[in-house]
């Protein structure tokens, strides 16, 4: 029997790693991710999880050690946040380019300076081009489910790409909610043992990580990209099989009350739960609004996204990140995704929720109203923001 218990999202991730029977965990502590490695270290110390826990001396070494353990065929997990993800940045690229299916949970955190340990998406957006499968969690159940699913998809011999599971720091990572934990037998049915086809083995020597002169680098990178885009099929198949076993079906783009909506709000991450409250209120008043949430961030779900927004008039994109000197990243991405469409909504972008700034129900109300207003009249502002004291920094609104 599966059981329903109250669990912090961080601990839900740790439970998924345990039920996946991970072999190696290499991690370095950083707020707000600490509860994940702490719980895993405890499980290993208590004998609940038969794994090797490497308390490495930095995030750079954490992910580097993961490359080593995957290279011999060990199921491998790591986790970090914000600055930690920045420190491991070059290793992040290597993990995907060398096709090492590490699973990594990120408790999303703002980037220095000024120092902030609180949530936003600056860390994610800095690694969006790294070739990792990336998903955003909305709640604790998703934190458990998507971590388990990530092992299944990443390690699929037709995929062999690493996967990041994003959960907003504190506002999701530290929240306790009911989580349904499945039976181990169900997990074992969903997740086969990891069989890495190119493991380093003295009986069958292979060379990993040969360097690419100009006459071959381009082909190597394009081959990687072709394989990465093809992973979408296994991503969808993984969710289908997950649903068939556990009863919860996931999709790349979540749609909430989108039927006939003239205005759609688009979010990523845990703030969508707050946004849904506003959608409910507006719908109750008869307003034609709905919500679209990107669950799958990479590879970008072009088809599902276009399908989700094709009939709406205004699409308001909410970003938790500034891309200095240009438009916000999610806004940039989705507007580009729609550029070639004949029928497309008017896309507007609003930024907020930086460095842990709360985004309230009222704030989302403003985002919708202001978004519609910009769609009608255009914006004269340098930046469209919400919940930021614009008068302090020289912008209005």
């Amino acid at each position: 029997m599966s059981k329903r218990i109250g669990l912090e999202a961080s601990h839900a991730v740790a439970e998924a790693v345990k039920m996946a029977d991970a072999d190696v965990i290499a991690a370095y502590p950083i707020t707000p991710q600490t509860h994940i490695p702490e719980r895993l270290a405890e499980m290993v110390a208590n004998g609940e999880l038969n794994a090797s826990y490497l308390p490495v001396e930095s995030e750079h070494s954490a992910l580097s050690a993961c490359l080593g353990s995957v290279s011999v065929g060990a199921r491998t997990f790591t986790t970090t946040a914000g600055q930690g993800l920045e420190l491991m940045h070059e290793v992040v690229y290597v993990a995907s380019s060398m096709r090492f299916p590490v699973v990594m949970a990120i408790c999303n955190r703002a980037l220095s300076a000024p120092l902030s340990v609180w949530a936003d998406h600056s860390d994610v957006m800095a690694v969006r081009d790294t070739g990792w499968i990336q998903v955003f969690c909305e709640n604790n159940q998703e934190a458990f489910d998507l971590t388990l699913w990530a092992f299944r998809v990443a390690e699929d011999p037709r995929v062999l790409f690493p996967a990041m599971v994003h959960l907003d720091g504190f506002s999701l990572s530290h929240v306790i909610e009911p989580v349904i934990l499945p039976e181990q037998s169900e997990v074992d049915r969903f997740l086969p043992k990891f069989q890495y086809p190119f493991a380093l083995n003295p009986d069958k020597p292979v060379t990993h990580g040969a360097f690419g002169p100009p006459d071959i680098y381009s082909e190597a990178k394009v081959a990687q990209e072709v394989a990465f885009r093809r992973s979408k099929e296994m991503i969808l198949q993984g969710w289908k099989e997950f649903g068939d076993i556990f009863g919860r079906y996931y999709s790349p783009v979540e749609r909430y009350k989108v039927e006939g909506a003239k205005t759609l709000l688009l979010t990523v991450g845990s703030l969508s739960e707050t946004a849904k409250i506003v959608i409910d209120e507006r719908r109750a008043k008869g307003e034609s609004v709905g919500l679209v949430r990107l669950r799958l961030w990479r590879p970008f779900p072009f088809e599902e996204f276009r399908q989700a927004v094709k009939d709406t008039e205004v699409l308001i994109v909410f970003d938790r990140c500034i891309s200095h000197g240009t438009v916000a990243p999610v806004f940039c991405e989705v507007r580009s995704a729609l550029y070639d469409e004949e029928k497309k909504p008017n896309v507007v972008g609003i930024t907020g929720g930086l460095g842990g700034r709360d985004v309230s129900v009222n704030d989302f109300g403003y985002v919708i109203d202001r978004g519609v207003e910009i769609a009608e009249k255009g914006s004269q502002r340098m930046l469209e923001t919400v919940g930021i004291r614009g008068e302090m920094v020289g912008i209005r609104g």
Partner: protein
């Protein structure tokens, strides 16, 4: 057990070559020789991780490889971290009976820049955690792969492209970082120096480093004709002079006990070593005298450590 007691010598060197004859090393490269000898000593049951450097570039231009043993390169500063994962992965998979239980030696071979500069943190972490691995530093005393830039292993007085000798500079103004002392400070079971001019000593140390349980560190002086600017047929002689002058003493530290493996009653003058190399050509006599004094002092300190443990 019997096999483990075997010592390499003139009549006993494995004929197998684990690094193929095809590679891109310079003529007379000391490092290529070290890799060849070390691999003979290690045998086939190894996994080698190699950071960025000459050794990696000269052996693996995609789509070909010189390696007949499992080999991996990922980045410049992280080989000690990746080998931690390799070692931990093998150990847990054997414990869980996912792969057959056997001895596989996990080895890093990396240059002095990857070891004593950019990778020193990862190396310290791996030694501190006590992984069962062997770290071989292929010490050619500068960043040779990128064009002879100075590292913390570059000797005092050498001219490099980022610490060049000039009208107001002698080149490198700092003394070579003592990586063996840093390794010993981690209380690891085995640390040593070696030089391919003494091939059997080198091979036996590699074997010993592979066999001890826990971290082992071997710093191997690897003369570089291109960077040191000496004739490519002088590699072995220059390595021998580094030892005979006391500039690079050959010793080992087993569980904290120091032993000089090659101890000459009288050291040759350092000038004999220095004068053969273009990197020192600019040095005035008073600087050579300074080097001589420092070498005497360092050698005396080393002998004192040896004597302390012998007593």
């Amino acid at each position: 057990m019997e096999e483990k007691s075997i010592k390499f010598g003139k009549s006993l060197v494995p004929i197998e070559e684990f690094v193929a004859e095809g590679h891109n090393f310079c003529t007379g490269c000391g490092e290529a020789l070290v890799i060849r000898l070390a691999c003979k000593a290690l045998g086939k049951n190894v996994i080698i991780n190699m950071p960025t450097g000459c050794d990696e570039i000269c052996t693996t231009p995609l789509p070909v490889t010189s390696w007949r043993v499992p080999w991996m390169h990922t980045l410049f500063e992280n080989a000690a971290a990746t080998i931690s994962g390799v070692e931990a992965g093998l150990k847990i998979l054997m414990k869980k009976d996912r792969i057959p239980r056997r001895d596989i030696v996990t080895v890093v071979m990396g240059g002095d820049g990857a070891t004593s500069d950019i990778g020193v943190q990862a190396l310290s972490g791996a030694m501190e955690r006590g992984h069962n691995f062997l770290y071989i530093c292929l010490d050619n005393e500068a960043y040779m792969n990128t064009g002879i830039q100075r590292s913390s292993a570059t000797p005092y007085g050498a001219s490099t492209t980022t610490a060049p000798a000039g009208k107001v500079s002698i080149g490198q103004t700092t003394w070579k970082k003592d990586m063996v002392a840093i390794a010993v400070a981690h209380s690891i079971p085995y640390a040593a120096t070696a030089c391919p001019s003494y091939p059997f000593d080198l091979m036996n140390k590699v074997k010993k480093g592979a066999e001890v349980k826990g971290p082992a560190y071997i710093n191997i002086l690897s003369p570089c004709p291109t960077g040191w600017r000496h004739l490519s047929n002088m590699t072995i002689e220059i390595g021998r002079l580094a030892v005979e002058t006391g500039i690079f003493p050959i010793y080992e530290v087993e569980n904290g006990h120091y032993r000089l493996n090659i101890d000459r009653p009288r050291l040759k003058p350092v000038e004999e070593y220095i004068k053969l190399q273009g990197r020192f050509r600019h040095l005035p006599d008073e600087e050579i005298k300074k080097i001589q004094e420092r070498v005497n002092e360092e050698y005396r300190k080393l002998k004192a450590k040896v004597a302390a443990f012998a007593a």
